[in-house]
């Protein structure tokens, strides 16, 4: 066994074991499993939220974009910061209602706020359809990383099977608490890897970050400002994209759910203050992508630029370390996605749609079944039908972002009507689908999802004004 392989396998097993034991002392009822008993303090909430920032996309996508597109990759830094700023104001309000009404999931919130079970089911379906391709993406990224880092010794399929089965196991025993603790391993490994590679790679190839940028400014200064090497991604695209993704970020059901896990609204606010700092290391990954742009022109898959450079520049055991970090980086978000999808299916589709009288214990049992179902579906899509969900993935962010107007208007504008929210949501999704699938993205230089979001907000307001208000007191 090569050192790289031993490190990758050891880390994956160790992380899963930690997740497995994390929940052993806690009785697993519905409240504990889906929202950690609503008892998460500042540390664990921070771990959980931070665990969501760095996904495999950060490893592969941020460097891949810096390599292939250039400046447009900066949008990643911006939208996260906007999302945390918005969360500072919005999440504590959601927490308050969740606490008062005992809510666990995003559709619970919609169903309660607008007193409509139908709206809850619609939101649940939007959430599940957005989660599945995202989950598949994490698995595919995991396979790509481990296969490349082990130099083919572990096939992508084997890596996906092993790590995802382990993830499913700790999800079943520990729920959200398991994810939070595996996050510790993940964050330490990931930040170490990013730090070493981000400073190391430019140093090895150019003698430092400054000289690397000087070379790049001489050779291709256009790569460093919008639109970089991607003609459709000028300043208007960046502005509309960061607004869309910043507003959409916490509309992902699994992130929205963190609002329910916290012990208090203050904890969420304090977290929002710190989180932007946690974004800064992403810039190191850009440096790697830019170095690859200068030293490895013509790569077929830009997403592999980071791993290709790491393999060129470092010994095998270090490559294994980076691969291990990448693998755990996929496991944490994957576990949270599985828990969220299972909770949506059992609570908001099964109970709300078919068995209104089901007890919490029954929903909990169904949740566990759904974990197996969702995991199996994700595996099938990742291994057998890798292209089946591409269209869903293209529109995933645009789709969940359409929930934003409903949440914000519902919280802060008393006239918001159920019919308005439903009409706006459907309009937004229809416009996004039409523009994206009709290849009209970007639309006049703007992100298509943003155009859809604007249409959605407009329809929500107009229909709400026309309809009778459904909220007697709103958020009060």
């Amino acid at each position: 066994m090569t050192p790289a392989l031993a490190i990758i396998l050891g880390v994956i097993l160790g992380a899963a074991a930690l997740g497995f034991f994390a929940g052993r002392r806690v009785p697993m009822n519905l409240e504990n499993w889906t929202v950690g008993g609503r008892k998460f303090g500042p540390l664990i909430i921070w771990l959980l939220m931070a665990g969501e920032v760095y996904t495999t996309f950060t490893f592969l996508g941020a460097s891949g974009w810096a390599y292939a597109k250039g400046a447009p990759t900066y949008y990643i830094l911006i939208y996260g910061t906007l999302a945390y700023t918005l969360s500072f104001f919005i999440l504590p309000e959601i927490w308050k209602i969740g606490k008062r009404e005992g809510l666990h999931t995003q559709p619970d919130f919609f169903a309660h706020l607008f007193k409509s079970r139908t709206l809850g089911v619609v939101v649940a379906v939007v959430g599940i359809l957005s989660i599945l391709p995202y989950l598949q993406l994490q698995l595919a990224g995991l396979g790509l990383i481990v296969e490349a880092a082990s130099d083919g010794a572990v096939s992508s399929t084997a890596a996906i099977l092993l790590s995802f089965l382990l993830t499913t196991a700790f999800v079943l025993t520990s729920g959200l608490r398991g994810s939070a603790w595996v996050s510790v391993v993940k964050d330490v490994l990931m930040l170490t890897a990013v730090g070493l590679v981000g400073f190391g790679i430019p140093k090895i190839f150019f003698g430092g970050i400054g000289p690397m940028f000087r070379t790049l400014m001489d050779k291709a200064p256009g790569h460093l400002v919008f639109p970089g090497s991607a003609p459709g991604m000028g300043v208007p695209w960046v502005m509309s994209t960061v607004l869309l993704t910043g507003m959409g970020f916490y509309m992902w059901p699994q992130l929205f759910g963190t609002a329910f896990s916290a012990k208090s609204g203050r904890i969420i606010r304090r977290n929002a203050c710190i989180m932007p700092l946690y974004q800064i290391p992403i810039v190191l990954i850009f440096f790697v992508g830019f170095t690859a742009f200068l030293t490895l022109p013509g790569l077929k898959n830009g997403d592999l630029s980071l791993l290709t450079l790491v393999r060129k520049a470092y010994p095998s055991w270090f490559v294994g370390f980076v691969g291990a970090a990448g693998a755990v980086t996929a496991m944490v978000p994957a576990s949270v996605l599985v828990i969220s999808a299972a909770a949506l299916l059992s609570k908001n589709v099964y109970r709300a749609g078919f068995r209104p009288k089901a007890t919490d214990a029954e929903v909990m049992r169904v949740s566990r079944l759904m974990v197996l179902l969702v995991s199996a579906a994700a595996l099938v899509f990742a291994l057998a039908l890798p292209n089946a969900l591409v269209n869903l993935l293209l529109i995933g962010y645009d789709g969940v972002a359409q929930l934003f107007p409903g949440v914000v208007l519902g919280l802060f504008w008393k006239k918001t009507a159920r019919a308005g929210v439903l009409a706006g949501l459907l309009t937004g999704i229809a416009v996004a689908a039409f523009l994206v699938f009709g290849k009209h993205d970007p639309f006049f230089g703007l992100n298509a999802g943003f155009v859809a979001l604007a249409a959605n907000a407009l329809v929500t307001v107009v229909v709400s004004l026309a309809a009778r208000p459904s909220l007697s007191a709103g958020n009060g």
């Binding site: 911006i78 200064p221 606010r269 850009f286």
Partner: protein, 72 residues
């Protein structure tokens, strides 16, 4: 609206002004700052400054007594 809340919202608007609406004016390579192209330096600087503004927003809200019910 209470004064603290208003002040908090103004603090919260700052990152949006700097990181979205200022972009057309800062999309340039030079001047180079700390070895970084200007646009990247600008974005990084505002990502790092956002916690300061959110912290100020938090202080303003606490002056209102907001969140007292949550602090247990």
């Amino acid at each position: 609206m209470r004064r603290g809340k208003k002040r908090a919202l103004i603090c919260g608007a700052v990152p949006f002004l700097a990181l979205v609406f200022a972009l057309p004016f800062v999309n340039r390579v030079r001047p180079v700052v700390f070895g970084l192209p200007f646009i990247l330096f600008w974005i990084l600087a505002w990502v790092a400054l956002t916690p300061v503004f959110l912290f100020l927003a938090d202080v303003s809200l606490r002056k209102d007594g907001e969140g007292r019910d949550e602090d247990r």
